[in-house]
């Protein structure tokens, strides 16, 4: 459900960068998204695509890499990759990351919440190279 507000922030970041390069059409976006954000990729793609289309960048390609969850355990102090439920994790399956060492769910999330806009491919503006 929070995909829309996240999408608009992603698009704002990309379109600002594209503008600084001369404002060409955005062809693709590379994202790294932490698994613990519970962002549904299809919805993310839908909203970003819609925002992009509205601003003159139709048929945008979205490349998403999922980053693993990391936790620090409040019980045993272990820090490491989060224990996840079996099967696919998405919005519809409530899940609790856990500590892989002691199994406790009393953990502080230390990774897996990233929503990183890595790069974007932008059509070159006709005037030539933009500033670096």
């Amino acid at each position: 459900m929070h995909e829309y507000s996240i999408s608009s922030q992603i698009w704002a970041s990309v379109s600002r960068a594209a503008r600084e390069q001369g404002g060409g059409r955005v062809l693709s976006i590379v994202l790294e998204v932490g698994v613990l954000n519970l962002l549904e990729e299809e919805q993310l793609s839908f909203w970003i695509g819609m925002l992009a289309e509205r601003e003159g960048s139709p048929n945008l390609e979205l490349k998403v890499t999922t980053l693993p969850g990391r936790v620090r355990c409040r019980q045993c102090g272990e820090e490491g990759e989060a224990g996840m439920p079996e099967g696919e994790v998405d919005h519809l399956v409530p899940f609790i990351p856990s500590c892989k060492v002691c199994g406790s769910h009393d953990v502080i999330v230390s990774g897996g919440r990233e929503i990183r806009v890595v790069s974007a491919e932008v059509e070159k503006a006709e005037a030539g190279e933009g500033g670096a």
Binding site: V109, E114, V118, S119
Partner: protein
């Protein structure tokens, strides 16, 4: 930002490397610093629609306003009903934020709301999040503590179904205990689920409409 590659298609690859979530954290941190500078203790209230967030805040404002200068930010998708319910309880300033469709408050909205009331010196700020047990859990606001309000009518498995919210909570208020039996809510279930999820997390039982338990919440938050 760096431009580092020209592809054959006549396009350029631009490196952006911006973490949206880290930016959210920075904005929350800015709020935290702002509140500290101005001597404001801020609290974020989350919970589903109708859980009793507004009733709890109204009860707290009523008890605190003699000794504290209290401000309230009420977040909703639309309408000013919540702000109206708190006005008249003694708050110095009550401000409604209508998110217009957004399912949660974020640090930027809270900052803007605080700017609007910044001419008024307050020392306690209650922020009522949008009624939703899912999305607000992913957005830190910069408050000192998050109070998650659940009600008997949320169902016995409310904790288990919304783990992310309770993982980010600092205090859980179990409201409408007076109707638990009528709605077949087994109060021991959410308490047991919380104990499994967050051992030792404090839980206060309330009937906010009757004022029952509100003093305990005040004590837990070290207010009053």
């Amino acid at each position: 930002m760096r431009l580092y590659e020209t592809t054959e298609k006549g396009s350029v690859e631009i490196e952006i490397d911006e973490d949206i979530q880290a930016k959210q954290e920075e904005l929350a941190e800015r709020n935290r610093e702002l509140f500290e500078e101005r001597g404001i203790r801020a609290f974020d209230f989350t919970g589903s629609v109708g859980a009793g967030k507004t009733s709890l805040i109204a009860g707290l404002v009523e008890r605190l306003s003699a000794e504290h200068r209290v401000g309230v930010i009420a977040g909703d998708v639309a309408t000013t009903h919540d702000a109206e319910r708190v006005t008249g309880k003694g708050a110095r300033r009550v401000l409604q934020i209508n998110t217009g469709g957004m399912c949660h408050l974020d640090a930027r909205l809270v900052y803007q709301a605080h700017q609007k009331m910044s001419e008024e010196q307050i020392d306690v700020l209650f922020i009522e999040n949008v009624g939703n047990l899912i999305c607000p859990s992913f957005f830190a606001l910069g408050a000192e503590a998050r109070v998650a309000v659940v009600s008997a009518s949320d169902g016995s498995h409310v904790i288990e179904k919304h783990p992310a919210m309770f993982q980010s909570a600092d205090l859980v208020v179990l409201n409408k205990i007076d109707i638990a039996e009528a709605v077949h809510m087994d109060l021991s279930q959410p308490i047991a689920d919380l104990e499994a999820l967050r051992p030792g997390l404090r839980v206060v039982k309330t009937n906010c409409l009757a004022g029952e338990g509100v003093d305990d919440v005040m004590r837990e938050l070290k207010l009053g």
